[in-house]
C-alpha cells in the first residue's frame, strides 16, 4: 500500500482554543482595532487617563511574562545561591511566600473587620484564657488609621543573638493565638519548635516564648500565627538567628 494511495488528514490551523481574554475585553466582535483607534485621547485629561491605563496594561503584561519566563528558566537552570538548586528549598520558599501572601490578605481582611463597630459588637469568640488588656485604646471608629498595637512581651532563651519580628494585626483579646513551628528555607535545617504563646501572669499580657537550642543553625526562621479555634492565619513570627 503506497503512501500516495492512503488518505492523510491535513493539519488544522490550530490545535487548541484561544483563551486570550484580551480579545474578549471589548464587547464588539473580535477584530483588533488598529493602533490608531486604541490611542484615542482628545483632551489633556483623557490623554492622562489613557496614558495611565495603558501604562498599567503594559506593565502588568510584562510582569506576567517575566514570571512565566522565570518559571521556565527556573526549571532549566538551578538558582544561583548558597543553598543550591534543591527543589525542596524552592518549594519551601514558595510556601513561606504564600503564607505571607495569604497572611497579608487575611491581615487586610482582619484589619477591616476590626474597624467595623458592628462586627466588634457582634463578635463573641471564646477567649477566657487570655483577657484583653485593660486600657488598650479603643480605635477611633471612622478613621482608617492603623490600630494601636497590642502589648506583647517576648521571652527568649538562647545562647546567641537573635532578632524577633512579630507581625500581627489584631489584638490578642479577640482570639487565642497559636504559633506553628518556625521553619528555615532549607528543609534540612530542623525547625524551631519550642515557640509558643502563653499568658504572662505577672503582667496579664500575652507573651511569646522562644527557646533556641544551642545547636540550632543560623538563619531566618518563619512561622505562622493562627487562631487556635479556627486555624485561620493571623500573623507571622520571624526569628533571625545570628551566627
Amino acid at each position: 500500500m503506497g503512501t500516495s494511495e492512503r488518505l492523510h488528514r491535513t493539519d488544522p490551523e490550530r490545535t487548541g482554543p484561544i483563551r486570550d481574554a484580551a480579545t474578549y475585553l471589548r464587547d464588539a466582535p473580535s477584530g483588533d482595532p488598529g493602533p490608531a483607534s486604541s490611542d484615542a485621547a482628545d483632551t489633556p485629561e483623557s490623554a492622562v487617563a489613557h496614558g495611565v491605563r495603558l501604562g498599567y496594561k503594559v506593565i502588568e503584561e510584562q510582569i506576567l511574562q517575566g514570571q512565566q519566563l522565570a518559571q521556565r528558566l527556573g526549571k532549566a537552570t538551578g538558582k544561583l545561591g548558597a543553598t543550591g538548586a534543591a527543589e525542596a528549598t524552592v518549594l519551601i520558599e514558595r510556601v513561606l511566600h504564600l503564607y505571607k501572601d495569604v497572611g497579608a490578605l487575611c491581615m487586610d481582611a482582619v484589619e477591616a473587620v476590626a474597624r467595623s463597630s458592628a462586627v466588634r459588637a457582634g463578635l463573641a469568640r471564646a477567649s477566657d484564657a487570655i483577657k484583653a488588656p485593660h486600657g488598650s485604646a479603643e480605635p477611633p471608629p471612622a478613621a482608617p488609621t492603623p490600630i494601636a498595637g497590642a502589648r506583647y512581651s517576648v521571652e527568649v532563651a538562647s545562647r546567641r543573638r537573635l532578632q524577633v519580628t512579630l507581625d500581627l494585626g489584631m489584638r490578642a483579646g479577640q482570639y487565642v493565638p497559636r504559633v506553628l513551628p518556625l521553619h528555615a528555607a532549607d528543609a534540612a535545617i530542623p525547625a524551631l519548635t519550642a515557640v509558643s504563646f502563653d499568658l504572662d501572669p505577672a503582667l496579664s499580657e500575652p507573651r511569646l516564648r522562644i527557646d533556641v537550642p544551642d545547636t540550632q543553625p543560623a538563619g531566618t526562621y518563619t512561622g505562622v500565627v493562627v487562631d487556635s479555634a479556627s486555624n485561620e492565619p493571623r500573623g507571622v513570627v520571624s526569628v533571625r538567628l545570628l551566627p
Partner: protein, 351 residues
C-alpha cells in the same frame, strides 16, 4: 490650555533632590574612580574608559540605588559597590548608544567615537561594561555570597531587558516601522530605559537592605512609571530646549528616534503627511536636511503631539507617585525616602 489634571505633590523642596544627587553622585564617582584601572595602553584604552565616567552626569541611577538601600535600612557601605557598578554599566551603554545613534555630543563634549573613532570607542565600551562586573564580584566579600549572587541575577535580568529594548528601538529605525502605538513605545522604554535607570537600582537597593526578604515586584511598577515620565520628559527637552542642554537640538528627529511624540504625530497625520514622514524617516534616505527636520517639527506641533506627550508624562508621574506609596509604604520617613519621592517631580523641573 488647561493644566495637567493630576496634582503632583511637592513633599520636599526641589533643592533636596539636587543636593542628594550631588552628595551621592560624588561618593559614587569616587568609588568608580577606584575601579578605573591604570595601565597600558593608556591612550587607546584606559583613558577612553575613564572618559565618560569623569564627565559628570546626573548620577540619578546610582543615587536611587543608594537611597533605596538606605531607606530600607542598609548602610552606605553595603550599597556603594552596586551603585558604582550601575553607573559603570550605564556609561558603557552610553558609549555604544552614541555610536548607534550617530550622536555628536555627549555632556557638552564630543562623543567618544567622534574623538577616537568607532573601533576604539567600541572596544572601550566593551571593556567598561566588563569593568562594571568588578564591584559586583567584590560584593561577595562586602555583603555576603547570597546577596551578591542575587544582585548578579538581577543585573543579568536588567542587562537582558536593556538589550531587548535597544533592539526594539533600533529595529524600528532600521526597518522604518511606522504606525507604532503608545503600547509599543511604553514596552520599549520599559525595557530599554526603565530597567537600567529606575527599576534595577531600586530592586537591588531594597534587596541588599532587606536581605532579599521584601517583594521586589512593586519596584517594577514604580520604576516603570518613573522611568517613562523621565524618558518622555527627556524627549520633550530635546525637542524644545536649546543647545545649552548639551546635546544636539532635535537630534532625535535627525536620528529618526521613535519618540512618543513622533508616533503620535504619525497616527494623527493625513495619509499624504504620513508618506512624507515615512520617506524622511527611512534610513536609506540619507542625511536629513534642515528643511526636513523643520517639517517634522512643525507636523508634531500641529498634531498636538507635544501637548499629548506632556500629558502622558504627567499621568505617568501621578502613577509613579501612587506606586511609590505601595513600594515604599512600609518604610519609615527619611531624607532618602523624600528624595526618591521628589525625583518624580524633579523630572519635570530639571533642565
Amino acid at each position: 490650555m488647561p493644566g495637567p489634571a493630576v496634582v503632583v505633590e511637592e513633599a520636599c523642596t526641589p533643592s533636596l533632590v539636587r543636593e542628594t544627587l550631588a552628595e551621592y553622585g560624588a561618593i559614587t564617582r569616587e568609588a568608580m574612580r577606584g575601579y578605573l584601572p591604570s595601565g597600558a595602553p593608556r591612550e587607546h584604552l584606559y583613558d577612553l574608559i575613564a572618559d565618560y565616567p569623569q564627565r559628570g552626569g546626573k548620577m540619578m541611577r546610582s543615587s536611587l540605588c543608594i537611597a533605596t538601600a538606605r531607606a530600607f535600612g542598609a548602610s552606605l557601605d553595603d550599597a556603594i559597590g552596586t551603585a558604582a557598578a550601575i553607573e559603570l554599566l550605564h556609561n558603557a551603554l552610553l558609549i555604544h548608544d552614541d555610536i548607534e545613534d550617530h550622536s555628536e555630543q555627549r555632556r557638552g563634549r564630543p562623543t567618544l567615537h567622534k574623538l577616537h573613532g568607532i573601533p576604539l570607542a567600541l572596544n572601550a565600551g566593551d571593556a567598561l561594561s566588563l569593568l562594571s562586573m568588578r564591584p559586583l564580584i567584590e560584593n561577595i566579600a562586602r555583603i555576603g555570597a547570597r546577596r551578591a549572587a542575587r544582585v548578579l541575577e538581577e543585573s543579568e535580568r536588567m542587562a537582558w531587558e536593556s538589550a531587548e529594548g535597544q533592539a526594539m528601538e533600533l529595529g524600528w529605525r532600521r526597518d522604518n516601522c511606522n504606525g507604532l502605538s503608545d503600547a509599543d513605545y511604553l514596552t520599549m522604554v520599559l525595557k530599554k530605559t526603565c530597567w537600567l535607570a529606575t527599576i534595577h537600582p531600586c530592586r537591588v537597593g531594597a534587596l541588599i537592605a532587606t536581605h532579599d526578604t521584601v517583594d521586589l515586584e512593586p519596584f517594577i511598577r514604580f520604576g516603570f512609571f518613573l522611568g517613562v515620565s523621565f524618558q518622555i520628559q527627556d524627549d520633550l527637552l530635546n525637542f524644545v530646549a536649546d543647545e545649552r542642554y548639551g546635546k544636539e537640538l532635535h537630534g532625535d528627529i535627525v536620528e529618526g528616534k521613535r519618540t512618543l511624540m513622533l508616533n503620535h504625530a504619525y497616527r494623527q497625520a493625513t495619509p499624504a503627511q504620513r508618506s512624507r514622514l515615512a520617506e524622511i524617516l527611512d534610513p536609506a534616505y540619507g542625511a536629513r536636511a534642515a528643511a526636513d527636520v523643520d517639517w517634522v517639527r512643525d507636523l508634531m506641533g500641529t498634531c498636538g503631539s507635544v501637548e499629548y506627550a506632556r500629558s502622558i508624562a504627567h499621568g505617568m508621574a501621578g502613577a509613579a507617585l501612587h506606586e511609590f506609596e505601595i513600594a515604599f509604604g512600609g518604610v519609615p520617613a527619611s531624607r532618602d525616602k523624600d528624595f526618591i519621592r521628589g525625583l518624580v517631580t524633579w523630572v519635570f523641573e530639571r533642565t
